[in-house]
Point group: D2
Chain length 469, copies 4
C-alpha cells in the first residue's frame, strides 16, 4: 500500500493510565494509528513494578496476538507505530524505547524530530554515554536520567528545556505514571481523552474513538501533562513564548479524515481546500476524480464548488498486500495497474480533473497520467490541494532533503510537462491558510515545507543525520 | 474485510494457453479476481506432458511466492479462487481439481452450481465411482472420463449435455489445451482475451486488464471454446435454445466496477441504478453517502440525479486485515468501529441518505445505523440499489436458503423498523432492469433472487446439499 | 537427519478404536513411528458419522498442534507417516486417504507396495474410474467400493483377494470401525495392542509403548481383523497357504531397536548379527565403532564377541535439523562434518573397525572413511551387519532399481577399494538367518533384496511405476 | 531436548577476523556450539565501517537463512549462543550486544558471569548511565567507553582490571578488529584457531573443526588477544598472579566430547572418570548403561574397567523436537517415555548399572528409575561420574542457588532412597581430579560446585541478581 510518491509520516503514539486491559487497549489505539507508521510497532506495559516491552517489525495485527496481549496484561501502557528504513537489523530502532537505571525502568514513545539531537548526543558521549540506537529518543532518556536527582518532575522539565525541535512524547515511568509532553511550538498532535474514567493520550482522535474514549482536549504547546493516581497535573515550564506551529500537512495528508484534532476536523479542512482550489483554478471538464484514496476529500470539495461531477475514475484493488510477486518483463506498468485500474468506459474521450493532495517525487503520478492517456482520456488537468513542496521538513516528515522534492527543482510549468498534463495548478499558500477554518492561521500553522519559514532554527548539516521520528 | 451482511460470490476462474510464464500470469489473473473468492486459491500448469497443481487456503499473494511460481513455470495453466466454509480440512475442496485417468491428467476450475449434481452423483456411485470432495466439479470429471472413448471433444459435449444449472468451466487437458465452457443459460461470466497472441479466459475483464490482455468477446451461452495449437475452435452443441440468464447481481454487487463484461460496464450500471433510485425514492436530506465501499457508485449516481451532495461520511480503516484480536468486553460495537469510523463533525445533526447495494441478513447495517444515531445524526434514510432479496440463489451465490434472507421474512416497513431507519426504499425490479442499459433486459438477466422466477428447474430438497461453486 | 546412503522405509500406520482422545493418541502413535516416514503425516478421525482428515508435508510435531488435535477430537482414528518424493505438489499423495461414496466415508492408511496395482488400475480405468493420486492405496478403495453390495466385510475380503504384493492396511469405516489387514505373505509388520480396554493397531510395538498400550499379538499373514463395538473379529479368507515372508531388513535397519515385533526384539537381533559378524569376519584392531547411530547395536555385539573395545569414535551433532545453510565453497566435506565429528585424540594412529548396518549407494560412507584417513587413522576395517544388497525391493522399500545398489554393480573387493578401506566384510546370508533367533528362518523371512528370491511374482516393467508405500 | 534435571550452560562465543564469508562461518561456528545455549543466538558483522547485528530467540538454524547471511556478508564477525529465561520480551538480552559511541560501534559476546557487576552498575548509574538490559555484558561496554581516551587497547586493559568473576569475551571493534579476553582465573574456555590464514576464536575446538580451522592454542588466563591487520597482539596486563581455575564441569558435562580444549580431550576425560568410578564403586551386574546421551562416555569407561557389558538399555527418539503436544491425563509418565524407551527384552529381570554424569534436581532420574522398576529390572545401581553438587556456581552455570541442588539437601543415602535405587555412588573429588590427565589438577581446575572452595570472592546477596552468561 506504500506509494513512493507520497511523503511518509514518522510515527504515532498512544498511552493509557492504569487499566486492567491496558495492553489490549493500546493495541487498538495503535490499530487506529497504523496509517502513521507501518514498519514497526511496540507496546510497553508497567505492571507490578516492572516495564515489559514487546516490539517487532510489521503491522500492528501482525505483531500482536491474543496470547501476547494477555501476557503483557494490564497496568499502564504506552505504544508506538513507526516508519523506518527497511531491514530486520533496524528492529533496534523500534519503539517504545525502555531503559533501566538504578533498578527503575522508564519507557518512551516519540513522534517528531529533535533538531539538536546531534549536539546533545555529542555532549553526552563526551561524558561517557553510549548509545544503542540511532534514535534521538535515546537522547531524551539519557538527559532524563542524568537529571533525576531533583525528582522525576523536575527531571522532565529540565530535559524538555534542553530539547529543540518537534516532539510529542508519551513517557511511562517506573511508578506507572503516564506523561504526555508536547514541544513549545506544538508541531505534532497529542490529545487527551478519557475512557470510563481512564485517561488516554493519542496522536489523533481516531484512536480515542476506537477505544471508546471521549476527547477532552489537545495538549498545549510546551505542556507537560502527568497522569498518576492523583489525576492530572499540568506543568507549563517557563519556556520562552512562541507562536503555535502546528504542522498543516498533518491535515492535508497524514491524519485520518475522521480525526478532529487541534479543534479542526481533517475531512472538513480537506473539503475546504478542494473548494478553494476550485475557486483558484477552475477548468471546464467532464468529471473530477481523485487517485484513490488520497485526494478523495478535496475532490469532493472541488466537485461541490465547481458543479463538475465527482467520479471514482480509478478503482483500487483492496487485496493488494504489502508484498506481491514481481511482474514479468512483458508486463509493463504492472505496479501501477495492480493497485489501480481505470474505468475505461467512464474516462475514454473525456476531459478530466484529477485532484491530488501532494506531489513529492512525481514518479507515480507520471505513470498514472500516462496510463490515462493510453486509455484515450482527452484532456488531463491536475489540481493539487496544497502549495508546492519546495523545502524539506526538519520536524518529523521524511522528505528531509531538497533533492527529493520535485517542486524544488522544477517550475509548475516544467512539472506539468514532466507529468504529461494539460494543466496543473497548486493551491496557493494564502488560499490554504484562509480556507483552513482557523482564526489566525498564519500564527497557528507550520508551513515551512511550502515557504521555508522554519519556526525553530537548526544546523542544516547536522539535522539530517539524526532525522528520526 | 468480510462482512456477514453481504452475500459471498462463489468463485473466479482464469486460464491461459501455452505461455512461457503461464503460472505467473495466472497468478496475476487470480489477483485481479480475488474479490470473487478469498478462502482458497490454486493454479494447475500443464508442462512436459504432466499437470502440476498447487492450491492452499488463503489469499492469492499468501499462497504463491516467486519460488513456487517458478517451480510451476510455463505451459498452459488454469487457476481458481474460491469461497468455502472455513476449516483446514476443507482444502480438499480447493480448485483446480485434477485427476489422472489412463496415464493422462485433466484439471478443471469451476464457477457456478450444478442443480442436478446430486442425481448425477448417485448414478455414478451406483456404478462404483468414489468421490473425494463434496464439489459438483468432481461430477464433471467423472462424466468426462466415462465418455472419453469417442475422443475428448465429444466427451466434453456429452458431459455438458448431462449437466443442469449454472457453470463456467475452464478445463486443462492432458495435451495442454484450454477449454472454456459456459452453460446454455449463461448464468456466470466467462470472457476471452488475448495477450501478445496468447489466448486468455477469465471470469471478468479486470483480470484481462491486469495481464495486459485485450478483451475479445464474452463466451456465448452454451458455448464450448477449445484453445489449442490450432487456435480457437467453438462448439455449440445441439442444446435446446434458451433465453440468456446472466446473473444481474454480478453487476450490482460482485463484479469489480472496472470490469466491462457481457458488454456492460459495472461502474456505469451501478451509477444508473443509483440515478434510478433517486427518481423512484427521493427524499430531502443534507447529504448522500455509502457505507464504504459497497454502494459507493450507486451513491454517486444518486447524488448526481438528486443534486444532494455526495460525502464519504464513514472512513474505512485500510489496515484491517482478515483477523484481528477480539475486543474486550468493555468495548461495545468494536467490530463495526474498527472497520468504519463516522465523521462526527460532518454528520451530527444532519439528515442523511445511505446508499446500500444489498441487504442480506441486515445485522451489520443495523449496528452501523445505531452508531450513526448515537453520534447525533437526525434522520437516517436508506436506499437500496436493488430490489429486496426474497429468494435463494441456486446458481452459485451463497444465500441458498430463504431463512437467511431478512427481506424474505420481513416486509420493507418491518425491515425499516428493524434497522432503525426513518425511511427505507428498494429499487424496483422494473427500475433495475430498465436502467440497466440492455435492450431487452427481461430476456437477458436472471433475477430469480428477487422474483423467484428460476430459469432452470431443480429439486429443492437436493440442490442445497451439493451447493458448490 | 536424512542420509542418502541409507534406504528409506515407506510408511508407518496406526489406528485406535473409539477413544475420547483418539486424535491425540494417534498423534503420539505417529510420533513413535516417525522413523518410518518423515515427509508427510496425517490423521483421519471418525466422529458423529463423518470422517475428518488432516494431513500435511513435514514431521508429525510440525503438522499437528493442540488446537488441531482438539478439533479432530475423539472417536475412532487412523494415522500415517510417509516418505515421498519432495515437492509440495505431492501433498495429494499423503495419507490417510479418504473418499466418499453414497454419503458414506472411508479412509485408509497403507504400508507396503502392491505389485499388481498397475494392472488393477488399468482395469478400473477401463470401466471409467478416475484417480487423483499416484498411490496404489487409491486402487484399494476403488475395489472396495465396487464390492460393497454384499456388505463391508465381504467387500474387504473380495478386495484383498485381488491384491498382490506387500500390504498392511489400517482402514477406518463409515461406521467408525477399524480394520487391520495384512497380506498373505506377511511382508510388513502390524500388531494389535490394548490401552485401557481400547484396541490399537500399529506398525511397531514402540508405538504401543508410547500410548501405554499392552502388546497383544502380531496380526497373522492374510488376516483381516475388524475392531467394532462387538469387539474383535478375525477373518482369514480362503487364501492359498504361503510361507511367511517377513521383511528381515525391518530388523536390520528400519524398526526402532525398542520394538519387539513378530516375537523378536530388534535390539537383540542386531546385537546377535554383530556377534555373528565378529565370528565370521574377525580382525585385529584397537577399537570397534559405529557411524552414529546406525550400526550402534551391531557394534556393541561385535565388541562383545570379539573383546575389542567399543567406542563412539564419531560424535553426532544433536542440533542438526533437516535443513541447514549450504556451506561455502571453501568448506570441503561440510555436509559430513556438520553431522558427525570424529574424536581425533581417540582415533589418530589407531586400527579401527567400523560397523555399518547396510550400504546402499556408498557415497556417504566413502566421505566418512576419507575424513577418518585425513585424521590419521591407521587401518580402517568395515564390517556390514547384513549381506550385500544386490536386488531391488518390490515390497515397499525405496531401493527399487538395481542401478542404485552399489553392491549390485561392484564386487566386495571393488567396493572395498571404492570406499577406501583396508578390509570389508559382509555378514553371510546364512549367518544372518541362523543368528536371527527364529526357529525356521528360511521359511520366516523375506530376504529377496539379498538373494533375489522374491516370494511374490511381479511384472518387472510395471512394478516400478506404481512403487508406493 | 531440554532436561530439567540437568544444569544448563550459559553461552558460547565465536569470532572470525576479516573473511569474505564471515557471517556464514560464524553461523557454522555457532552451529557447532549450539549445545552451549539454545534459547537465542546472534551474529554481529563489521563491514564498511559499520556493525550490523542480527539476533533472535531460537536455535541457530531457525534464526538464520541464506538470505540473512548474505545480507550480513563478510568482514569481521562475532557470534553468540545463549540460554536465557523464556519469554519473547527477553530478546533484549540476546547477544552480541552492540552500542554506538561518538559515531563508532562496538559489539561484544560474553561467556561467564561477573561477580561484581552489581557494584559496577551502581557506580555507573550514579554517574548517569542507563541500562537497557539485565546483562553484565552491558557493564563491560559502559566501562570500555568511559576509558577510551587513552586509546582502545588501554581502555580494554583498564576495563578488564575492574571486572571480577568469570569471563571470556569476544569483542568486535569499530575498526573491525577482534579481541579475545579471558579472565585471570581462566574459568571459561576460549581458544584460537586459524582457517586458511584467518584467525578464529571459539569457546570449544569443535567449532574450529566445523569451519576447517586448525587449533593453535587456548588463550591464557588473563590474556587479551587483539586480532587486527597487524596480526596477533597479546597483552597480559599486570594482574595479580592467580591459580588457573578452569571449570572442570565443562569436561564432565557441557563441552562436546569431540572438543579438545585446554589440552584435554573431553571424551577421554569422561572415559577416564568412568574407569575411575568402576574402581571406586564396583558392583556386580549384568550390564552397564547410560541414560542417553549424557553419561554415555563414562559408561563406556566403566564397562571397560569393570568388564561388565555396555548396553544402550534405553533408546532415544531422535525426532522429539523442543515442543510437543502435552499428553492427555491418562498417559502417565509420557514426558519420560516420549524421549526414551527402555528395551524390555534386554532389561527385564536384570541387575543394571546406570552411569550418569550429574544429578542436579533429581526429578528426571527418579522418573526414569521408576520406569525401569515397572519394567521388571531387578537391581538398579547408579554411579555418578562426578562428586555431589553441593554448592552453587557463581561463574556462569545456571545452578546459582543451593536450594535447587538436591545433593546439598540430602545425604547420598537419602538421595539413593529418593531416586529408588539399590545402590548409589558418586565419583570422589580426588578420584575426579587424579584421573583427569592433568599434572597438577588441584591448581588447574575450579571445583567450587563440589567443595565450595570459590577461587574468586563475591557478595552472596548481590551475585545472584546479576547472574548472567
Amino acid at each position: 500500500m506504500s506509494d513512493s510518491d507520497k511523503p511518509r509520516e514518522a510515527c504515532g503514539v498512544f498511552g493509557i493510565y492504569s487499566h486492567p486491559e491496558a495492553a489490549a487497549l493500546t493495541y487498538f489505539g495503535l490499530y487506529a494509528l497504523q496509517h502513521r507508521g507501518q514498519e514497526s510497532a511496540g507496546i510497553a506495559v508497567f505492571r507490578d513494578g516492572e516495564i515489559i516491552t514487546h516490539k517487532a517489525m510489521g503491522l500492528v495485527p501482525e505483531i500482536f496476538d491474543d496470547r501476547l496481549l494477555a501476557e503483557l496484561g494490564g497496568g499502564s501502557a504506552i505504544g508506538h507505530v513507526r516508519y523506518s528504513t527497511t531491514g530486520s537489523s533496524k528492529l533496534v530502532n523500534a519503539q517504545p524505547f525502555a531503559v533501566r537505571h538504578r533498578g527503575k525502568s522508564y519507557a518512551v514513545a516519540h513522534n517528531g524530530n529533535l533538531v539538536n539531537a546531534h549536539e546533545l548526543k555529542s555532549e553526552l558521549e563526551a561524558s561517557g554515554s553510549i548509545f544503542q540506537t540511532t534514535m534521538d529518543t535515546e537522547v531524551f532518556l539519557h538527559l532524563l536520567v542524568k537529571s533525576l536527582k531533583g525528582g522525576l518532575e523536575q527531571a522532565v522539565v529540565k530535559t524538555v528545556q534542553q530539547l529543540k525541535g518537534a516532539f510529542s512524547f508519551v513517557v511511562l515511568t517506573s511508578r506507572g505514571e503516564i506523561i504526555g509532553i508536547k514541544d513549545p511550538n506544538g508541531f505534532r498532535l497529542l490529545c487527551l481523552g478519557q475512557a470510563n474514567g481512564n485517561y488516554v493520550l493519542a496522536s489523533e482522535t481516531c484512536a480515542l474513538d476506537l477505544v471508546n474514549a471521549e476527547f477532552i482536549r489537545e495538549l498545549d504547546p510546551g505542556e507537560i501533562l502527568i497522569i498518576s493516581e492523583n489525576g492530572l497535573k499540568s506543568i507549563r515550564p517557563d519556556v520562552p513564548p512562541r507562536p503555535q506551529s502546528l504542522c498543516i500537512f498533518e491535515y492535508i495528508y497524514f491524519a485520518r479524515p475522521d480525526s478532529t484534532t487541534g479543534g479542526l476536523n481533517v475531512y472538513e479542512m480537506r473539503k475546504a481546500h478542494g473548494r478553494q482550489l476550485a475557486r483558484e483554478a477552475p477548468v471546464d471538464a467532464d468529471l473530477v476524480m481523485p487517485f484513490p484514496d488520497s485526494g478523495m476529500y478535496a475532490a469532493i470539495g472541488y466537485s461541490e464548488a465547481s458543479g463538475i461531477p465527482f467520479e471514482m475514475g480509478m478503482i483500487r484493488n483492496h487485496y493488494v498486500g504489502r508484498t506481491f510477486i514481481q511482474p514479468t518483463q512483458s508486463m509493463r506498468d504492472f505496479a501501477t495497474r495492480v493497485k489501480l485500474n481505470p474505468i475505461k468506459e467512464l474516462l475514454k474521450g473525456k476531459d478530466i480533473i484529477i485532484i491530488e493532495d501532494s506531489i513529492i517525487r512525481g514518479t507515480t503520478a507520471k505513470t498514472r497520467v500516462k496510463a490515462l492517456r493510453e486509455l484515450g482520456v482527452r484532456n488531463v488537468h491536475m489540481r493539487i490541494s496544497c502549495p508546492p513542496h519546495r523545502f524539506p521538513c526538519h520536524y518529523g516528515i521524511d522528505f528531509s532533503t531538497k533533492g527529493e522534492l520535485i517542486a524544488a527543482r522544477l517550475s509548475v510549468d516544467e512539472l506539468r510537462e514532466f507529468l504529461g498534463l494539460d494543466t496543473l495548478h497548486y493551491l496557493s499558500i494564502d488560499g490554504m491558510l484562509d480556507s483552513s477554518g482557523v482564526e489566525d492561521p498564519r500564527r497557528y500553522f507550520c508551513k515551512a515545507c511550502f515557504d521555508g519559514d522554519y519556526p525553530v532554527q537548526f544546523d542544516e548539516g547536522l539535522s539530517k543525520d539524526c532525522m528520526d521520528c
